[in-house]
Symmetry: C2
Amino acid sequence: MSIIDALTRALGEAAVLTGERIQDRFRSDASTTGTSLPKAVIRPSSVEETSTALRICNNHRQTVTPQGGMTGLAGGANPRAEDVALSLERFFGIEEIDTAAATMIVRAGTPLAAAQEAAAAAGFLLPIDLNARGSCQIGGIVATNAGGLRVIRHGATRDNVLGLEAVLADGTIISSLNKMKKNNTGFDLRQIFIGSEGALGIITRAVLRLHPLPAGRSTALCALADYERVVLFLRRAQAALPGLSAFEAMWESYFQVNQQATNGRFFRQAPAFAVILEEDFVGERSDRAGLEAFLAGALGEGLIKDAVIAQSEREGQAIWKIREGPGLNRPLISFDVSIAIGRMGAFADDCAAALAARFPDHPAYFFGHVGDSNLHIVVLIEGAGGEAKRAIDEIVYGLVQSYAGSISAEHGVGVLKRDFLHCSRTAEELAMMRRIKAALDPNNILNPGKVLPEEARYGAA
Amino acid sequence: MSIIDALTRALGEAAVLTGERIQDRFRSDASTTGTSLPKAVIRPSSVEETSTALRICNNHRQTVTPQGGMTGLAGGANPRAEDVALSLERFFGIEEIDTAAATMIVRAGTPLAAAQEAAAAAGFLLPIDLNARGSCQIGGIVATNAGGLRVIRHGATRDNVLGLEAVLADGTIISSLNKMKKNNTGFDLRQIFIGSEGALGIITRAVLRLHPLPAGRSTALCALADYERVVLFLRRAQAALPGLSAFEAMWESYFQVNQQATNGRFFRQAPAFAVILEEDFVGERSDRAGLEAFLAGALGEGLIKDAVIAQSEREGQAIWKIREGPGLNRPLISFDVSIAIGRMGAFADDCAAALAARFPDHPAYFFGHVGDSNLHIVVLIEGAGGEAKRAIDEIVYGLVQSYAGSISAEHGVGVLKRDFLHCSRTAEELAMMRRIKAALDPNNILNPGKVLPEEARYGAA
């Protein structure tokens, strides 16, 4: 019996799409680099069906590409023509909100926005937040350990997953739906799946931590003269503002081009660094007085040159609009690296100089979640060929390696960064990843070709 | 060549203790259940020596018991006579404090107190804190994912380890000394070692997160009428007090006997629940006004019946003294379980009733880090034999299982809780742990007999 027949017999026609029933949306994630449709799409509607599907695939040595909301940027969910895609879009919904434990149990196919809304309706904040909230799904978010906004206050996805259920390649269901903050009973299996990009198991359900809803929020835009002051200002803000929930820096040219694109007039002349600082107010302390006093002190000391506190939600949005980068012309390449906070300024200088020397016609822009050691770099590539793109990758990732940084702060490795993974990981680390992979998926059916480079590549390194 | 000769030749005499040079302190952790001295103690003074030692042991199929400060309570560091013990007590010290990144790199043999003091001297708080701070070592703390005080504010050890270096059983050095808050470059190897109790690798160095030093701290003791109010009061405190750093509940009899033992007079009559609430002050907000207003509101609503705010550090210490349990007569058995917060009250009632029915002469006391879902139970066992002790274990762990709780919130499994691990973990989870163990330590030389029960035990379950 063919693999498609076996899957259809076990799961029913609604769960197995083939031929023209495979819509184009199963081709690529948001990187738009996917080129093939999978030979079938499996859409289980329960944990047990997921287990059945994987058991059948494993017995047939059928490779499986897990897919969530397809909002990733690393090509991690792109299928090859010989793969079947597995989507849990039919297994969605909130199973429980425990208001005493401050937890929620969410199915993998649930869009993030739906989970956020359910939490808010119960009086809680689900702190995981990404711009793709309308389409990204909990399973994909956990599988990629998505970062996003507010990490400085509440941590990344990993820090907000208390329990997890996943299905191994052979169909074994690993159910660790823990709701407790402390649990030291043997190896922490949930951590193995978080951030593994679907290569070690298919996540089916997660227990997420909830936090109190903030009573309000205040946003400020500050001008600074150099990177050293950016770091001092960050440390000062973390010590003084208990609800600090964003600390975003924009380098001069990034701020200039994007303030102009939004017709913003916050600073007449773009400062060397513009920092967005945001504070969530907790409980009784719902006032701006603390933030104002803090900024006045920083001004008085010469730590910052200027500051604007948003006087309305609309003004706050206008500040964030600049950060979204509407003034950058496509096509572009976007990097998502991390560098130890103290060295990020020097790294950006070196990177800007190296790119300008080689590609004077392709401007590069720098901005990032400095508080999370996360730097974004955008290079405009109008007219650039494949060779130039590869050279840009090599310049950036080569510098990341020399600064002991990470080639992927948030978006994961997928297929697009796979061949640069050695810039951030030693041969021993890669070999250990392979040992784990072989132990949990000995037939290599789960997302093959993703995350880990071909063996010969790193073996030769 | 014998294993001892091979180790001595490679590492030198100072690094290999045998015979009378093996002091009694290598026999048992703080549970005092260890009965054997190891056949040798290896004390490498570098990462490379640790690697050499393990490679030799692995080649000789020599089992190794990793030891830290010997402050554990689960027997996890107790050697058998046929094991060699491995201690990193000669590999200690702070290698770096990065004030921009707010991180410190610490060697495994460093006592926690030394790391805390170094952080404070640099103007930072190392948030990991245990009562055993003077003797416990960073390597053991990370290997057991130690919990302790302040978890409610800063998380457990796992949440404060940014990077890690460990040596596998075969001597491979896995160096992931990451300093970045966001890093999604392949599987998160550090998580595999954290909390693995030395069974997957020997931790040699850790990159720890530092936080701003709080400007001050305020302590209150509150009286509550029932467990439902304890949960509501916790949720309210988390929403209102941004610096909430402790929320400890004492059940009536625990508070009564220990208030009496300390000659405390906080409450004339022991309430159903006494809660210690503590807030760290951040930045400019170093005043008690917020806490006072919050408690006044809770009193007005009838959420709490009474409250005392410590007026001095000494009064704060007097409150904590009660929590330390000086009124409990030894010998005793101490449990360290976790239960979802909303069900903890019912669990404690059921557990108290079951123990009283079977052992009316052995009083049981309840208290815990309620905010962390962590409940401690102490049973006085004067005159009880081995059979009674085993029956008490079975009553408590059987109830933990029926409440979907964890048999070990903080102290780990070691050897003492190994045979009850199935109460908190499914057969599939245990099988997956074995797969990981076999992948990383195929000869089973690292801490054998700890954490995972004998195969037949759970296979038959």
